[in-house]
């Protein structure tokens, strides 16, 4: 079940990235392609098999996990900026790109790296499960490290959430409001992941469901915008499209 969710998310994200290649060639909103490509890579790294393979190439000391965190930061940074700009949410942009956003990114990144360095990270293990199991200090560090990794995406999502909620109630076309709703669900789910340490071990599968559902919501929400944009393009500019 969880495996299926993971691979579905990977395929959806990969397909979304591939579908952006024509626009990449046309130099239109290229950062979306890069963000989706990063996201796809991040999902790949979060799945057991690929993680172990890639981490082995990087020395088997879980550097891949640190890499994964920064890939997620990058992907979510560019994606959220685009989304906020698209929905005309200047406050959201300010919160992400302004001083507060940069401070949050810097601080969280520092905590992340410091925790990683202090840990005994030998022995590849997706999600650092085995690393945490080594001793009590490691377990604590993994906990902080994980929290830091979730904190920045949560901050960014909370920054764009008000804009999404406004868009849902706005008189925009139905398809766009639907995608705003999906993006809003994603932006709520990711901050929820900060509560993961409180989830009882028996319900650990909830973590996966929240994480991957959030990503799926983002990817599908964005894809809906392209569907709507394609339709609108056909409706408003039929001639240029047929000339080619």
């Amino acid at each position: 079940m969880i495996e299926m969710l993971q691979w579905t998310t990977l395929i959806a994200s990969g397909a979304a990235a591939l579908s952006r290649i024509p626009n990449l060639v046309r130099r239109k909103n290229r950062s979306i392609f890069y963000a989706l490509a990063l996201l796809t890579l991040a999902i790949l790294l979060s799945i057991d098999g690929p993680y172990l393979a890639i981490d082995a190439l990087l020395g088997g000391a879980n550097v891949a996990n640190l890499l994964l965190r920064f890939i997620i930061f990058g992907a979510i940074f560019f994606l959220a900026l685009r989304i906020a700009a698209g929905f005309g949410d200047s406050r959201g942009i300010q919160l992400i790109r302004g001083r507060t956003g940069m401070l949050a990114l810097g601080l969280i990144s520092t905590v992340l790296v410091v925790c990683f360095v202090l840990m005994d990270t030998s022995g590849s293990s997706a999600g650092l499960v085995h690393v945490a199991a080594k001793n009590q200090q490691n377990a604590l560090l993994v906990e902080y490290y994980g929290a830091a990794g979730r904190a920045y995406p949560a901050y960014v999502c909370l920054a764009i959430l008000p804009g999404m909620l406004r868009a849902i109630r706005s008189p925009l076309p139905a398809l766009l409001r639907m995608s705003a709703a999906l993006l809003a669900v994603g932006s709520i789910a990711i901050p929820l992941s900060l509560l993961f340490p409180l989830v009882p071990p028996g319900l650990g599968f909830l973590r996966f469901i929240v994480n991957y559902t959030a990503i799926l919501c983002f990817v599908v929400g964005l894809a809906l915008i392209w569907v709507a944009s394609g339709r609108a393009g056909r409706k408003h500019r039929p001639l240029p499209a047929e000339r080619h």
Partner: protein, 245 residues
Amino acid sequence: MPLPAKAFQRWLHGVAPDASVADVARASGVKRTTLAQQLVRGKVAEATVVGISRAFNINPVAALGSFEPYRDLGKPPIPPTLQELVSQIATADLLHAIISRTEPDAGTGKGTGPPGLSAPPHATSVKNWVDAIDDGELRHRVSTATGVAPQNYSAQLTANRLAPELAVATSRAAGVGLASGLVAAGLVTEAEAGWPPGARQAALDSMTDGELTVLAGERLQALGKTLRRQEHDQRQTETIWENLG
């Protein structure tokens, strides 16, 4: 509320006993597949009855009156009020009237006279009609009578749509001619609703310059607001395409 297929079949049998579904569709201009689908679903749209009535030279309002939910449409019509008549004149026609009143020789040139009024419905027919008969509590009464939520009712008015059932319910609640709403909604013509010929033109002529100008001004103001909102929404949508498309 669409009409039950059974009652429709009975009515159709009375109107055109020997006609097949295909014949009826061809004569009335209703698509055959549409008609067949409505029959299968058991719900026939009022517009279908109107189309068929016209094809067989029956008054569509009277035809609708033979169905249970519209029983009172069969009664002798109440003539439209002055406000209703004026509400069904397009804004452009009001402006034409103002221009031809102030500069009788302008525009059309060689004395062809003012152009005739365009037939209802116009772009804001529904809302203008409801505003014309609203005593302030009308929307509330319609909503209680029909169980349609006020915001859904308003949404229809804004979109210049009005379901036939709601149109008749609105007339009932306002105590005006029952078919007027169907005219505003574009389901039937003013003649079919029993409005006297030239009634709108007469209503327009009876307005003073001041009344006419104020009315046209209100229409323009509302139109301007709508257009500005549409332009704003359009800009917003374009920002999304630009950044995320």
